[in-house]
């Protein structure tokens, strides 16, 4: 039963049959014979929550996740595990070559998924070729360009005179960065990439293929990574400066003490103790993906999907996008028309 239902019943509105259906006309307010005593001080303002929920269900949600990491770190498998279906590019494109591309490519694929009436358009953006070359200088550039291009597209839509009712949101909400499980420390490539990208997008670092680390090695590795992130001034999600209040801070501190999550991905089910569970079967045992004693996949899933999804999208739209917009509109002051005449505007009077 939803929380709205429990709130309403606390107010002795037992007449409301179901949370989703508004009360029938003329049936309730005190005049029908034998009706219960109605609370006259109840205005009904809290019904707006239900109205919002209805609207959200009708519109559906959008989520755009980017996965970045060297090939072979289990990115596609992790995506499939997170969303319990074949959402990664490899699973979709049967003709996907297994060759490592010569340059970094950005490939995105969208899916419509639905759960309990909630529809979501999930877009997974893959970056094959990242970190795979001999010389990886500037390998973050195409990724940054892609992210900024999405902000640009949104900005263009937003400044149109005739705007769409709902601007399609292709902005990257979250970038999962896969750290290879070396067990020692971050590589220079990792530091460089995260340093630059954490300024434009929410980065969630994860330790990939964590089943190759023992628990002690894992803890040591995580501590080392956190130290290095701090030393380099890299703010990963959840960023400290965006904590809204004490309650937020408390919850986020707990998360910050656990990142990066050490994850294992799998889309195969095995029989364990009479239950069918997702896992990896080896000669020395079966690693259960969703068992928090084995790996931290469940924490990652809860963070990304069950608790902080809206927050991730909010930070993207109200902070990262706004910063991009400020930069973009300010640079108009010095630069004259673009070569292709892209219209941008800001009203002169207000900036004077």
């Amino acid at each position: 039963k939803s929380y709205l239902g429990s709130v309403l019943s606390a107010m002795s509105e037992a007449v409301l049959p179901d949370v989703m259906v508004p009360p029938a006309v003329g049936g309730l307010y005190g005049e029908k014979a034998g009706g219960p005593v109605v609370d006259f001080s109840y205005v009904g303002i809290d019904a707006i929550l239900e109205q919002m929920r209805r609207k959200a269900m009708k519109q559906g949600f959008e989520l755009n996740i980017m996965v970045v990491g060297q090939s072979g770190l289990g990115k596609s498998t992790l995506m499939n595990t997170l969303f319990k279906s074949k959402v990664s590019r490899k699973s979709v494109l049967a003709t996907a070559q297994e060759k490592i591309p010569k340059t970094i490519e950005i490939k995105s694929i969208s899916h419509d998924i639905e759960e309990k009436g909630v529809r979501m358009k999930l877009t997974v953006i893959d970056t094959p070729g990242f970190g795979d070359q001999i010389n990886n200088e500037n390998c973050w550039q195409p990724i940054m360009k892609f992210i900024n291009d999405q902000y640009e597209a949104y900005l263009q839509e937003e400044i149109n005179i005739n705007r769409k009712k709902r601007i399609p949101d292709s902005r990257v909400h979250c970038c999962i960065y896969f750290i290879p499980p070396t067990g020692h420390c971050l590589r220079p490539l990792d530091v460089e990439f995260m340093r630059r990208l954490s300024k434009v997008v929410n980065i969630v670092p994860v330790i990939a293929k964590a089943d190759t680390l023992t628990l002690e090695e894992r803890d040591f590795f995580k501590k080392k990574i956190r130290e290095e992130l701090r030393a380099n001034g890299i703010d990963v999600y959840p960023q400290k400066e965006f904590d809204e209040d004490a309650e937020d801070r408390m919850i986020n501190e707990k998360i910050r003490e656990m990142i990066p999550f050490a994850v294992v991905g799998s889309d195969q089910e095995y029989q364990v103790n009479g239950r069918r569970l997702l896992g990896r079967k080896t000669k020395w045992g079966t690693i259960e993906v969703e068992n928090i004693a084995h790996c931290e996949f469940a924490y990652l899933r809860d963070l990304l999907i069950r608790t902080h999804m809206q927050n991730i999208k909010d930070i993207t739209s109200s902070i990262h996008y706004e910063m991009y917009r400020v930069r973009r509109l300010n640079e108009n002051n010095t630069v004259v028309t673009h070569a292709n005449g892209i219209p941008e505007h800001h009203l002169a009077a207000h900036e004077m």
Binding site: P22, G44, I109, I113, E115, H345
Partner: protein
């Protein structure tokens, strides 16, 4: 250096994928709602109607609070809008409610311009939002939205038809705000008259092309109730904050010698329907319509008015940069002109002041000269007088000496003592 590829499958661009287990994103609506709860909501109602139709009372009744301390003063010449913001809370929902009242609407002898202040007010709220949206550094998510979400238009219970003021005003407002017409103080109309009145009003609105707010019927869960309610418009309401004992409960009612009108009795009036539609079912839709329809229309018109265009007739994207530069130069030109004017005026004033001061100085000099001359004249006069007095004195002395001399000679010829005595007498003299 890199290639970007967006893979799209059949249909609208994304494929439907079945899920093998529970992922957990069904909590998204909850996350969204929680965020809104933390943020709080705002809702702005505008009440338009003639004086004395019970606007304030209806607001009090709708929201179950006593809003204003004192009744509004009705002594202004034109139509003014008074807005008050209140913070209400019910369970965990915090609502910032703004109620705007039109004071003096319909009181004037000449009502041609009555609607103007209302339209200006609504536009001002849109303008404020537009300004915020166009700022470079903006804070949209914490912006207090003052745009009017619903306009309750109070129709006087004449029982005949709409007044021309009503038609004109509603026509001017229907493209700017969601209008919900209501028949005020409907306990003045009998049931049969009411039905006819409603039909007349609806037909007049339709024939004059007034677009009133239609409760949305696209969502199945509320389509039925909304379409039923649409047929009951305009709602005939009665407002009251006083409670009367009916049976064994206290109800909001108006007590007359011939009976009691219960506000929340659906047989007596449509108050419950209004509350249902306005607050419990469609508050969110009202807010959304305001933002996506009325505000967008205002924005489009405003930006086009200022010379911004999306594309040129030659379908080449018109450079707004050029428009901006042109306007900027224009503005700077104006500023410079003003500056020149001010400088001129300043120089002028200085000159005038200088001339004035010179005048004054000259006058002072003249005065000084005059006085000096006067003084010299007086001095001369006095000297002359002194001289004449001196002359007199000299003459007198001469006479005296001559007389003494004569006397001396006379005495030498006569006695000595008498002479002495005379001498002394004369000496004394």
């Amino acid at each position: 250096m890199a290639s970007t590829e967006i893979a799209r499958q059949a249909g609208e661009g994304a494929r439907a994928v079945p899920l093998a287990g529970h992922v957990g994103f069904d909590s998204m609506p909850d996350q969204l709602v929680n965020k809104s709860v933390n943020h709080g909501f705002c809702f702005n109602i505008l009440c338009v109607g003639e004086t004395g139709l019970g606007k304030s009372t209806l607001m009090d009744t709708l929201f179950n609070t006593k809003f204003e301390g004192e009744p509004t003063q009705h002594n202004q010449p034109g139509v003014t809008l008074k807005s008050n913001t209140y913070e209400l809370q019910e369970s965990n929902v915090r609502l910032k409610l703004t109620v705007v009242n039109t004071v003096g609407f319909g009181d004037q002898i000449n009502k041609e311009d009555s609607y103007k202040s209302i339209v200006e007010f609504i536009d001002a709220q849109f303008e404020a939002y537009l300004q915020e949206e166009l700022k470079i550094k903006r804070t949209l998510h914490s912006y207090h939205d003052t745009r009017i979400h619903a306009c309750l238009y109070f129709i006087a219970p004449t029982g005949h038809s709409l007044k021309s003021l009503d038609l004109v005003t509603m026509k001017k407002l229907d493209s700017k705000v969601n209008i919900i017409p209501i028949i005020a103080k409907s306990d003045a109309i009998s049931k049969s008259e009411l039905a006819k009145f409603k039909i007349k009003i609806t037909s007049e609105l339709v024939s004059n092309g007034v677009q009133i707010y239609q409760f949305p019927t696209d969502d199945e869960s509320v389509a039925e109730i909304n379409s039923t309610m649409n047929s009951h418009l305009p709602f005939a309401v009665v407002g009251s904050t006083e409670e009367v004992k009916i049976g064994n409960k206290m109800v909001k009612a108006r007590q007359y010698p011939w009976g009691t009108v219960q506000v929340e009795n659906e047989n007596h009036c449509d108050f419950v329907k209004l509350r249902e539609m306005l607050i419990r079912v469609n508050m969110e839709d009202l807010r959304e319509q305001t933002h996506t329809r009325h505000y967008e229309l205002y924005r489009r018109c405003k930006l086009e008015e200022m010379g911004f265009k999306d594309t040129d007739p030659d379908s080449k994207p018109f450079s707004l940069q050029e428009t901006y530069e042109a306007k900027r130069n224009e503005f700077m030109g104006e500023l410079q002109k003003k500056e020149e004017e001010m400088r001129q005026m300043f120089v002028q004033r200085v000159k005038e002041k200088e001339a004035e001061l010179k005048e004054a100085e000259k006058e002072l000099h003249e005065k000084f000269d005059r006085l000096k001359k006067l003084h010299q004249d007086e001095k001369k006069k006095l000297e002359e007088k002194k001289k004449s007095l001196d002359d007199e004195l000299n003459m007198f002395k001469q006479k005296k000496t001559a007389a003494e001399l004569l006397q001396n000679q006379a005495q030498q010829a006569g006695g000595s003592t008498t002479l002495k005595r005379d001498k002394e007498r004369k000496n004394f003299f």
